[in-house]
């Protein structure tokens, strides 16, 4: 099971901030994961936006990046504090 984290507005889209998911064996990189989840969550493209970055095991990666079934994968829309 992979840990999937949805930050910021993507938490609203996913209906949760975090969940464990069985990612199909055919989904082996971040680009494919975006496409699959966008359909699964009926996200209307929210998971595909270029401004949404993915982090795999706490490292921000560039698509397509390989993923493993037990990774922690975070969907990160534009950040900003203060």
């Amino acid at each position: 099971m992979a840990d999937i984290l949805y930050f910021g507005r993507l938490g609203d889209v996913a209906g949760t901030g975090a969940e464990k998911l069985d990612i199909p064996a055919t989904i082996t990189d971040t680009a494919a994961l975006r496409r699959w989840l966008d359909v699964e969550k009926s996200a209307g493209g929210a998971f595909l936006e270029a401004s949404v970055r993915l982090a795999v095991n706490s490292e921000i990666v560039v698509d397509p990046h390989p993923i493993s079934p037990s990774d922690e994968i975070a969907f990160m829309p534009p950040v900003g504090g203060g």
Binding site: G8, R9, A55, S58, P77, P78, V79, G80, G81, G82
Partner: protein, 161 residues
């Protein structure tokens, strides 16, 4: 020193502590960011700040190290709230100390630009008319772009001519 905290904190107490730490510095600059009570024409009831540990902390540590490399700082302090907070509560406190006042000003300014546009936080505003996630404005990104090495030199030249 860098602190993320879900509890309210006092910027003036933080400054008092920082003064002791920075003893002998010459110049101390502090920045305090407070939760607004208005956004556009809506009253703000509160704010929620989401972090992603330890990525958030690691990123801020890196920005602090970067600031220390760029400017001769004798002390540095960053406090950032997470979780829920109400109007007028402090969100962020940055303090810098140096022998030189320009160094203290620029380093605080630089760190705030980092915190506004690159620090790993997501911010949600609660208003009477609904809740919305806030992302940095174009102005925040252009402020932040001032600190790329090339722009900084252009800036310095313009300033001092």
């Amino acid at each position: 020193m860098i602190t993320l905290t879900p509890s309210p904190f006092s910027p003036s107490e933080a400054l008092a502590d920082f003064e002791k730490e920075a003893r002998g510095a010459g110049a101390i600059v502090s920045f305090t960011g407070l939760v607004r009570d208005r956004a556009g024409d809506a009253d703000v009831d509160g704010l929620h700040l989401q972090a992603y540990s330890p990525m958030t902390e690691n990123g801020i540590e890196k920005a602090a190290a970067d600031a220390r490399q760029r400017w001769p700082l004798t002390a540095l302090r960053i406090i950032h709230r997470t979780g829920d907070m109400g109007p007028f509560e402090p969100i962020v406190f940055v303090a810098t100390a140096s022998a030189h006042r320009r160094a203290a000003f620029e380093a605080a300014d630089f760190l705030m630009d980092y915190l506004k546009t690159e620090a790993v936080f997501w911010k949600r505003e609660f208003t009477k008319t609904g809740n919305r996630w806030i992302e940095p404005r174009a102005e925040d990104y252009s402020d932040s772009a001032r600190w790329t090495q090339t722009n900084m030199e252009t800036d310095r030249n313009a300033r001092h001519k």
